[in-house]
């Protein structure tokens, strides 16, 4: 800057420093220097360009900033802030007024002529007394919101510390409200590994018997173990509020400030009190419409860790007699921390993160050889989310006796859904999973320089090429004569609907065929009871879908194609064995589908041996529906025998 003053801006060799240009543009230089640089810029193109570069950099930043800010949500509304402020003001006011009184006493003393006496012992004593009174009478210096927020941060810090394994031992007691003696007492042991994010939680009775356990992953998914039962997978953590609907599961409630906030809703309303080494946050009634009447969270001052939670819940009771009204019974549930330890992962027994033997299903090994049960269980897990349909995911037994679960799915979200569904078997060494999204598959194909653009089978479908168009047009035109263009559109729509219904039946029939092959001879005799139950439930479901689709086909086609035909005969006897019945049903479904696709000109395959106008086709549709119903009935025993009238009526 000094060089600038010494220089003469009229000399051609003098230019302001680049750094000073920013100060000049910001108006942060003395007026005299501002004037000099301003004058110089008028005559010097080089400096003017430099100044414009600074300006354009600022403009680019400001543009970025305004775009970034435009994407942010609006800050909280004033109403939300007002609630927090009211809470703070309620706690602050008593202390405020006391302090004001103290100040009002102190200030005149200070400003009086006896200022020299301030140094006297009496003055010091007065100050000490005021401070003591202020300290003793002032309210708790923390708000509920602040306390919960800080406790949540502290909890997250401990839980995410990769060098720690946390162990907590809790006591869970249930009482009838007003009674001192608990009606039930349980012990909860929790192990949490910061590195993996896994939380293992076990519930014991008073005698030390293991009643249940839960393994929760970092992503919130969990596996629930009950003795002698297959583990139950939950893809998402159950919100604390949902646990209130079934209090027997309260042992799964996370003892934390975060849980309390979710339970209490507007936690800023909580009253904060001190109790020895703890803060206690009390709120209630929390939700007048719900079962939660009162909630108290205890937070240890040192470390800000939640060490206890007390919940008062109203459970609806059945009336003693029909004339008496039902009075809800109120229960108190308390979960309190007995022990808290931090260990290093090296010093922690690995068994604490492994399911206890009593919780493992008896027959399912973890060997690297896939059993028929494992194959059925994997298929069942996929079937529950519809991933077996249309061959989206295939489950095949490889030569190395491992189970290959493969497929290409629409997007990453679907992939995640499928992986989450497969969680119970993902850790099994006998299961190899390879699921790609379309984009991943394309990238992989591009990397290996292979052309993945497979040739689709010839599709000759077109509006004008429907071989059944004349019949459909005649039928639709007969209902209410529409214009030519509209008629064409309706014909196309009708054909698409019929084709989709038929394809749906075929997709489910193929799943049934795969399931029957997987089950092996004797309809799954080699399977365990649980695997067989899964097999039969899947068979019943897909057979039901085939039946519904076939009936729908019948309803769609009957007014157009079957109106002049005699009623179909009663169905012949069906095979007793499921696999044989499924084989026969698949043949029938494919024959029907072939006839439909051929009639509607959608398939480029060979012409169908049967015509959709024929009595034979009509008969085939009804037999397929009856066969599907019979399979469903055999698998689940819950399908009513259809009557020809009910099937053909629209």
């Amino acid at each position: 800057m000094r060089n600038l003053f010494k220089s003469d801006d009229r000399q051609p060799e003098w230019h302001p420093r680049e750094d000073d240009l920013l100060l000049y543009l910001d108006g942060e230089l003395p007026p005299r220097v501002l004037g000099r640089i301003g004058k110089h810029l008028k005559v010097c193109w080089a400096c003017r360009v430099k100044a414009e570069k600074v300006e354009s950099t600022i403009a680019a930043f400001m543009d970025y900033r305004s775009r970034a800010f435009a994407q942010l949500a609006e800050p909280a509304l004033v109403d939300t802030f007002r609630l927090r402020l009211n809470s703070v003001a309620r706690q602050h006011r008593p202390g405020h007024s006391l302090r004001q009184i103290a100040l009002s006493i102190w200030q005149p003393v200070w400003s009086s002529h006896v200022r020299s006496l301030v140094l006297s012992a009496a003055g010091i004593a007065a100050v000490a007394l005021i401070l003591l009174a202020w300290r003793n009478l002032s309210p708790v210096p923390v708000s509920a919101g602040e306390l919960l927020s800080n406790a949540t941060v502290a909890e997250a810090a401990s839980a995410n510390d990769a060098s720690l394994v946390l162990h907590r031992s809790l006591t869970w007691e249930t009482r009838r409200s007003g009674e001192a003696r608990p009606i039930e007492r349980r012990r909860i042991e929790i192990w949490h590994a910061g590195r993996s994010g896994v939380t293992a939680r076990r519930l014991y009775d008073e005698s030390g018997n293991l009643l249940a356990a839960e393994w929760r992953q970092r992503d919130g998914s969990s596996e629930l173990y009950l003795p002698h039962a297959h583990p139950w997978f939950e893809p998402n953590a159950e919100p604390p509020l949902m646990l209130l609907n079934h209090p027997q599961d309260l042992w799964r409630l996370e003892l934390s400030a975060a849980s309390f906030v979710q339970l209490a809703g507007d936690a800023s309303r909580a009253k904060v009190s001190r109790q020895g080494a703890d803060y206690r946050l009390t709120i209630g009634p929390v939700r007048p419409a719900g079962s939660l009447l009162n909630a108290v969270l205890t937070i240890r001052k040192s470390g800000l860790r939640a060490t206890g939670i007390d919940l008062r819940l109203a459970a609806p009771a059945t009336p003693a007699s029909p004339t008496e009204p039902a009075h809800p019974v109120v229960y108190d549930y308390s979960i309190a921390e007995d022990a808290y330890e931090q260990e290093s992962p090296e010093n922690t027994r690995s068994q604490v993160f492994e399911p206890d033997p009593v919780l493992l299903p008896p027959a399912e090994g973890q060997a690297a050889v896939a059993t028929p049960d494992l194959q059925m269980k994997t298929t069942w897990l996929l079937d529950r989310i519809g991933a077996t349909l249309g061959g989206e995911i295939t489950v095949t037994l490889a030569n190395d006796q491992r189970l290959n679960v493969q497929g290409i799915v629409q997007d990453a979200a679907r992939k995640q859904e499928i992986l989450a569904a497969l969680a119970p078997v993902r850790a099994n060494p006998a299961v190899q999973i390879e699921i790609l999204s379309y984009s991943q598959a394309l990238r992989r194909a591009a990397n290996t320089a292979r052309n993945v653009a497979g040739k689709a089978p010839g599709v000759a479908g077109s509006d004008s090429g429907l071989s059944a168009q004349a019949d459909i047009s005649e039928f639709l035109a007969g209902q209410s004569p529409p214009p030519e263009a509209e008629l064409r559109e309706r014909v196309t729509r009708f054909a698409a609907e019929v084709s989709a219904t038929s394809s749906n039946a075929a997709r489910h029939a193929w799943v049934l065929k795969n399931l029957a092959q997987m089950a092996g001879p004797g309809d799954g005799q080699a399977l365990s009871t649980e695997a067989k139950r899964q097999y039969l439930s899947m068979v019943a479901h897909h057979a039901h879908e085939v039946e519904q689709s076939t009936r729908r086909l019948n309803q769609q086609l009957e007014p157009v194609f079957f109106s002049g035909l005699p009623p179909p005969d009663a169905a012949a006897a069906f095979p007793a064995e499921l696999s044989a019945a499924i084989d026969r049903m698949l043949s029938a479904v494919l024959r029907n589908d072939n006839a439909i696709q051929s009639a509607f000109g959608i398939s480029a395959g060979a012409e169908s041996p049967i015509s959709i106008h024929s009595q034979e086709f009509h008969q085939s549709l009804l037999e397929t529906a009856q066969l599907a119903c019979s399979i469903e009935k055999q698998a689940a025993g819950n399908c009513e025998s259809p009557s020809p009238q009910s099937k053909t009526s629209p």
Binding site: L23, E28, V54, R84, H92, N160
Partner: protein
């Protein structure tokens, strides 16, 4: 009264200023609520920028105004012309505390200071122009990530319209340091942009 009217004027909100002048009396709570109404957006945006997290910014933003209440309650009113820099200073301190606690918790990923969804195209912009625009914004975002914390604070506070002296007061540094941080920030943004 004068206190909040000044705040509203300085925030460029003439409507709020008129409303404030028309009110006969406001107690401290109402005054703080008015301050929140007038200043919450700039404080929130500044905090979102330096924290890179909108929800945390919102939480701290409310905390700032709660502290304004307790401060005024304990120590008397903040001078009207200093309220704006006061809330930014407290906001900055709370943000730094939050970043420290995140680092100690091991959950600070050190990412960009203000992530922006750059995929959102402006309606009516040609695809090639949109592509160039996106590249330009991505470049700025990359360069911003290379600024030091102090440089970012100075830059965003300057963008809020603060003078160097006010920025110095907020950050607890000297005006010449502010000038130096801003010079460095602009130089980094400029150098990269012309590289």
């Amino acid at each position: 009264m004068q206190f909040m009217t000044e705040v509203a004027h300085r925030a460029g909100d003439s409507r709020s200023a008129m409303l404030l002048m028309a009110r006969p009396y406001m107690d401290l709570e109402q005054e703080v609520i008015c301050a929140y109404e007038s200043l919450r957006s700039p404080v929130y945006l500044y905090l979102a920028a330096v924290l890179g997290d909108a929800s945390e910014a919102e939480d701290i933003c409310q905390e700032v105004f709660l502290r304004l209440f307790t401060h005024c309650s304990d120590h008397g009113m903040v001078a009207p012309e200093r309220v704006r820099s006061w809330v930014f200073r407290v906001g900055r301190n709370l943000a730094i505390d939050r970043i420290r606690s995140r680092k100690s918790a091991g959950i600070f990923d050190g990412g960009d200071p203000l992530p922006v969804l750059l995929q959102v195209p402006d309606p009516g912009v040609m695809p090639d122009e949109a592509m160039l625009e996106r590249e330009r914004l991505e470049a700025i975002q990359r360069r911003l990530a290379h600024l030091s914390s102090q440089e970012q604070h100075c830059l965003y506070l300057r963008a809020e319209g603060f003078r160097y002296r006010e920025i110095a007061e907020i950050l607890g540094i000297t005006s010449s340091s502010v000038a130096e941080f801003l010079r460095r920030a602009i130089r980094k943004l400029m150098r990269d942009s012309h590289a």
